[in-house]
Amino acid sequence: MTTGPDRQSFLGDRPVPYCKGCGHGLVARRLGEALVRLGLDASQIVLTSDIGCVGLVDPLFPTLHTVHTIHGRSTAVAAGAVLADTVLGEGRMKNIVMIGDGGATIGLLHLTQAALMNVDLTVLLHNNMLYGMTGGQHSALTPEGFATSTTPQGNWVPALDMEQLLRGCQAGFFARQLATDAELADVIASAIAFPGFALVEILELCTGFGVPLNHMDGKALRALAEADGRQLGTRIHRNDRRPYHEVYRERFPAPSGRPEATRGDGSPARVFAHRLQRPATVVVAGSAGERVQTAAAILCQAAILSRLHCVQKNDYPVTVGSGFSLSEVKLAPEPILYTGADAPDAVLITSADGLREVRGRGDLNRLGPGGVVIADESLASELSGDGVLTLPLRRALSPDTAALGAVAILNQRNGMLEREALLAAIGVLAGDGRAALERAVETAVSLAGQAAADPAEEGGR
């Protein structure tokens, strides 16, 4: 079959490549008529075609933009183009996805997501109930009892009902038609004009496989659909949802020259002194939600304010709200190349979760020469040896500030940073919680002073 040049449908003069009796050519013609009826300009129309016989449609429309995609992904590619056009561009694109039941099967998630989001595009689902191009295999849209090359005795799995599926996605427009229906062009035009996601399922019989395997012709299609509980016509048409791009633009309007917020407003101008001669590695470990990583970040920020180099790595279990929380901090007067913490100089432990984790990692066995452990008093019975200091971190401070307290105590003992650098770092990083963190540093420093006066606290436990 060939068609002559046709100004009335955007169809060119290429021969239609489909088998005699196939509905695909008819759908293309109805689409062209619909586009003309809508008064659209060729330059604003994008035809996004999927894989399969339906994907041969592109050259039939020589003046439209055509995008032939990979199998099943046509809807996602089209959605990206539509969102770029409607949010970032002029918003004049009309994107029509040409997909088969095979593409709809493998790309189902792209269809449901576009429907859920209500992306303003139109899907023409050419449902001939099997994969035609690859030899007539059954798809998720093959009706029960329908014979295909891979279900020669008839399919025994029910077909996916696009109408019910799209109702579940709150889609705004769904129609089911036969390719031969006289009103098909009107229905396609309504779908394209619909402001949001619209899908037209067009039932066809594949003349290459569906017809011979089922000994039926196109006239039997209506009865087949009805027997399978599929009703024809425009089944969903609701206008209570706005298209995605409208909602998006309202939520996230383009700023009118407003500068982005910048960080670091609380930074002091002064540079602090430090006494670090060589790199120092500190492991801070405690329980999730107890601001362990904040404490480590404050130590890093204090180092930055003291013109030291620093790296911080955080670790936590997959359940972010339970179990351990751990940070490794490395500080150095020179640029830090290797970021591993193989031999920590200090391990700070504020809870049993933290202790379990540092034991698992082996940090206590890898402690560097002269390394120290500062831990909460509750762990005293499990920790002993030189360099272990247990203090009432959680009791004298609070579970939330114990880690910062441990950092302040370590700093007080080894004097690597000025105490004011820690306080200034809190000013940089902390918002509303600033006063509590500053108090924690002061309390911790006095704890450290008491411990120094009472060496029994140290070791031997």
Binding site: A42, T66, V67, R73, L88, P268, A297, L308, Q312
Partner: protein, 380 residues
């Protein structure tokens, strides 16, 4: 790498930033206006950062229902003319591979940030790895060269993401930023006020005069781009196609288009070569590395020299196209070349051995943990 920025920086402008955050910073600086992502450790921070930052600008950040969607959204957006990026890790990359080749075939610019970890999705989300290096490069069918850039610091995450956009746009080809968990999720001091300037090439744009959908003369020319919904008719297909963009099998013009996809990248291999050199006259051994391990390698060289060894270091920021000349030059005087990387069988070393077969290659390899400087020094 790890340049001392403190001397010139006011402490007030230094801030802790992760590699992931600096990828986002680089993308925004490069003009990225469309991001789509799907959660996966260790890349999720890019997704979050891009979402917050793009939405604040009124640009598009989109959560996808899977990684295939994420890349396809980006491809569609880029075909409309937007600079687009997605970020993932190995398990998500596995899903993206077909769409990635589709971008290559349709000459659609897009940047994919691949943050390596142990795979599969149940494999070890928070353990670093450098095991996707060949999966990134050889993901496409046909032997095309995919530009792959590998940062080792937060600042390099910034600069290489910009380079990725620059080359992706200029060549109209997808580009991979190959990060790794230890680079991506480690926070370091960055001076946001003094980030390096990286010029970003523009996508060549088509005009009506002489327009064809895939227009090039010499094979290595980049066809000018026409956006979807513009005045010039766009014809795109992932199938082999002629210069009109129509599916053809093996006519001469179609085979030219296929060769052109490689030629345009290959012709610019020298311009794309980015390395960090720390070479020593008369060195007897050279260590070549990339990503997080290149920092341990440089430390190993520093330690070795302090002990009287003559050693050279070459950090590769461009992994593909392989910076062959830079490696040959660095290896000029050495007996042996050691490649340090976090994968069991020395994936990148294998392609280096193929590209430079006359050198004597050795490997330092681990899995599931970082390589230590001492281990590299021992092999040198």
């Amino acid at each position: 790498m790890a340049t001392d920025i403190r001397a010139e920086s006011a402490p007030s402008s230094l801030t802790l930033r992760s590699g992931n955050q600096m990828v986002a910073e680089g993308a925004l600086r490069a003009g990225c206006r469309f991001f789509s992502g799907y959660p996966i450790t260790p890349a999720s921070e890019i997704y979050r950062e891009m979402t917050v930052r793009l939405q604040a600008r009124g640009d598009v950040a989109l959560g996808a229902p899977d990684e295939i969607s994420a890349l396809c959204y980006c491809i569609g957006a880029s075909q409309r003319g937007a600079k687009a990026m997605t970020a993932t890790s190995g398990p998500g990359w596995a899903l993206m591979i077909e769409a990635f080749q589709y971008a290559l075939m349709t000459e659609t610019p897009v940047v994919v940030v691949l943050v390596q970890r142990l795979g599969p999705s149940t494999g070890g989300a928070t353990q670093g790895a450098q095991g996707d290096v060949l999966l990134a490069e050889f993901a496409t069918s046909g032997g095309y060269t995919v530009p792959v850039f590998a940062p080792s610091t937060p600042v390099e995450c910034f600069t290489l993401t910009m380079e990725a956009f620059s080359w992706s746009e200029a060549l109209r080809t997808p580009v991979v930023v190959l990060s790794d968990k230890e680079v991506a999720m480690t926070y370091e001091a960055v001076d946001l006020a003094r980030l390096p300037e990286v010029p970003v090439h523009a996508r060549p744009m088509a005009s009506a005069e002489g327009y064809r959908p895939v227009r090039f003369g010499a094979l290595d020319e980049v066809p000018p781009f026409a956006p979807l919904a513009g005045s010039l008719k766009v014809t795109l297909t992932g199938s082999a196609h002629n210069k009109d963009g129509w599916l053809r099998k093996n006519d001469a013009e179609t085979l030219d288009v296929l060769r052109h996809l490689e030629a345009k990248v290959d012709a610019r291999a020298r311009d794309m070569a980015m390395v960090t050199r720390d070479l020593q006259e008369d060195a007897d051994a050279l260590v070549v590395s990339y990503g997080i391990t290149s920092r341990a390698a440089r430390e190993a060289v520093r330690l070795g020299r302090a002990a009287g060894r003559r050693l050279s270091f070459l950090g590769l920021l461009t992994l593909f196209p392989i910076p062959v000349e830079a490696i040959r030059e660095a290896a000029r005087t050495v007996r042996r070349v050691v490649v340090a990387e976090e994968n069991l069988s020395g994936l990148y070393r294998k392609v280096l051995g193929g590209a430079l077969p006359d050198l004597e290659w050795h490997g330092v390899n681990t899995l599931g943990r970082m390589i230590r400087p001492a281990e590299i020094l021992e092999a040198l």
